[in-house]
């Protein structure tokens, strides 16, 4: 594998561009439904970029457009220095794609899938066999190589999928929800695989629903909501915008619930569940403050849970949605 790759722009002045993927005002709609409403992105070569968003936010549509699977209705997109609309074949030569749904041929074996990729990348017979054996080994699929891919488990299929994507040594890899539906162990294996790719200088564009995953892997994160980029930045920058951390107290006794609500003051009440949410950064000191006030009023909660910011909070914070503790506040650091 090449140790470090910087796609260079073939167009215009021929000056090398450090940008792997860029889009300007990307738009796509299906009938009346606008899926992407003007997406601007710039992803430096050799970095990991995470597109974070809930189901239906348009993440997959972005990947499909950038990987030349579908065409955008408006805007521009360049991948590896080539326009996706004007020169899709050059884009295809530079990228590898692992979609959300398994892109393996289930009727043939894992090894045959790999050799198929080698043939389509026009590798020689011996080179194809070498790369196949190497990648099967690397992805721990050597034992299952002779079995039909449809008999593989979800994690194995995903590993085979990525191994197939790597056959042509792509410089830019798109991973659409690479860990959705995987068990925790497989998920951590996948993270390890992605880190190794990055260490080899590959640019990784991944989509995920999990803040934790973006946090773990990405240099930069963009939050996609309703077809627009709601926020973009490093994990730290994003977290600073999220006021979603809170302590949740649940009661069974309605009178205890009411007096706790009165005692704590600045809370969000959930009268049906008899639960209170107190904004909190989850630190020991903040927790003790809450408990001290409850103790001094001789109130006992039946359940106490600490919530750290999660994707829900990001969205509620960034979109001003309902059902969350108030509006974004300055986070005390």
């Amino acid at each position: 594998m090449p140790s470090s790759v910087m796609p260079t722009s073939n167009s215009g002045d021929g000056r090398p561009s450090p940008t792997a993927v860029s889009t300007v005002g990307l738009r796509k709609s299906y009938g009346d439904r606008t899926v992407l409403d003007g997406i601007d992105l710039r992803i430096p070569a050799g970095s990991v970029f995470a597109l974070l968003g809930p189901n239906g936010a348009g993440k997959t549509t972005v990947v499909k457009i950038l990987s030349t699977l579908i065409t955008a209705d408006g805007g521009q997109a360049q991948v590896a220095g080539h326009d996706v609309a004007a020169d899709p074949q050059s884009v295809r030569a530079a990228i590898g794609v692992t979609g959300q749904f398994s892109a393996v041929d289930g009727l043939i074996t894992g090894e045959e899938n790999m050799l198929l990729m080698a043939d389509l990348h026009h590798l020689s017979k011996s080179e194809g066999r070498r790369v196949t054996a190497e990648l099967l080994e690397q992805f721990d699929l050597t034992d299952a190589a002779g079995k039909p891919a449809q008999s593989y488990s979800g994690g194995m299929k995903r590993r085979l999928d990525i191994a197939m994507t790597l056959v042509g040594n792509p410089r830019i890899i798109f991973l659409d929800e690479p860990t959705t539906g995987l068990d925790p162990r497989s998920r951590h294996n996948m993270w390890q695989i992605i880190r190794e790719l990055v260490a080899d200088g590959v640019t990784v564009f991944l989509t995920t629903q999990y803040l934790e995953e973006a946090d773990e892997l990405a240099d930069r994160i963009a939050v996609l909501n309703d077809g627009r980029i709601a926020a973009e930045g490093t994990a730290e920058e994003l977290k600073r915008q999220i006021p979603g951390g809170h302590v949740r107290l649940r009661f069974t006794d309605p009178s205890a619930y009411r007096s706790a609500a009165a005692e704590l003051g600045e809370v969000t009440r959930d009268d049906e569940a008899l639960a209170l949410q107190i904004p909190s950064d989850g630190s020991q000191r903040a927790l003790r403050a809450v408990l001290d006030r409850l103790d001094s009023a001789a109130i006992e909660a039946d359940e106490l849970t600490v919530h750290t910011p999660d994707l829900d909070d990001v969205f509620f914070a960034l979109t001003g949605g309902t059902g969350v503790p108030d509006q974004p506040k300055e986070t005390v650091r």
């Binding site: 794609v97 979609g99 749904f101 892109a103 009727l107 043939i108 198929l116 197939m164």
Partner: protein, 263 residues
């Protein structure tokens, strides 16, 4: 690599993939062979005595009816086999691997060409198998010259190619395998409504145009002429025009369906 050699190389790779599927899961292809073989045996051994009265000037026997029937059965075999192609194309399109192919720098048409060449090979193989059954029960075409044999094989291949492109379009336009199988049914029904089993002029007058103006009748009459020496007349060029027209129609239809953005 030039675009032609790229096209050839990628199409050959896709063909290998399709043949691998066919070899590993032969049940679909073999099931489709059952219908023509059953019809052959049914019409020769069960209905043969009655049917033979309807051909020629009467007084023909069962072996003459067998000779009359086999060319139609061979073309019906092709129709049936291409239904399998429609089903496998539509199944293939629901597979994620097709999305992968679309994002790779390969010849765009290779996926379809691989299917078409694979299907034509399967058609030829099916015709050989059904033909072998026909020979086993007494069919002989010993009067045909070498040139006529070559032309007969060429005609069968051309019909296979034409029907396959149509079947590929049907497969691409169908949302799932069941729909593909239903949509491709005309490929099996049309030969039943042709001169495969009885001569067109023995049919009711109102129905004769249906049997006359469809691709199977001229193809069957041409094959009869080549193998058995009956009159070909204008059926020869009619068959060729039908095949070229259907192949071109199927090709452009399939291409435009494949070039659409996938859902």
């Amino acid at each position: 690599m030039s675009s032609l050699s790229l096209a050839v190389r990628d199409s050959a790779t896709m063909l290998r993939r399709n043949l691998l599927h066919a070899r590993r899961y032969p049940s679909l292809t073999l099931n489709l062979l059952l219908t023509p073989v059953m019809l052959l045996l049914l019409f020769v051994y069960i209905f043969g005595d009655v049917m033979s009265a309807g051909i020629g000037d009467g007084g023909a026997d069962r072996s003459e009816y067998l000779a009359y029937l086999v060319p139609g059965i061979l073309l019906l075999t092709i129709g049936g086999t291409t239904i399998g192609s429609a089903v496998s194309v539509s199944m293939d399109m629901t597979e994620g691997i097709i999305a992968r192919f679309r994002t790779m720098a390969i010849h765009r048409g290779s996926v379809l060409i691989g299917h078409v060449v694979g299907s034509v090979l399967q058609c030829v193989m099916s015709v050989v198998l059904v033909g072998a059954v026909a020979v086993a029960i007494g069919f002989r075409a010993t009067d045909a010259t070498a040139a006529e044999w070559v032309l007969a094989v060429g005609l069968l291949t051309l019909v296979s190619l034409a029907l396959t492109w149509i079947a590929v379009g049907m497969g691409l336009s169908s949302p799932n395998a069941e729909a593909a199988s239903n949509n491709a049914m005309p490929l099996m029904v049309l030969p039943l409504l042709s001169s495969a089993f009885v001569p067109v002029d023995a049919m009711p007058g109102w129905f004769q145009p249906v049997a006359e103006y469809q691709p199977f009748t001229p193809a069957i009459e041409t094959l009869r002429g080549l193998l058995l020496g009956s009159e070909i007349g204008h059926n020869g060029w009619l068959a060729v025009v039908w095949c070229l027209g259907l192949a071109a129609l199927g090709y452009f239809w399939s291409k435009s369906l494949y070039d659409r953005d996938p859902k």
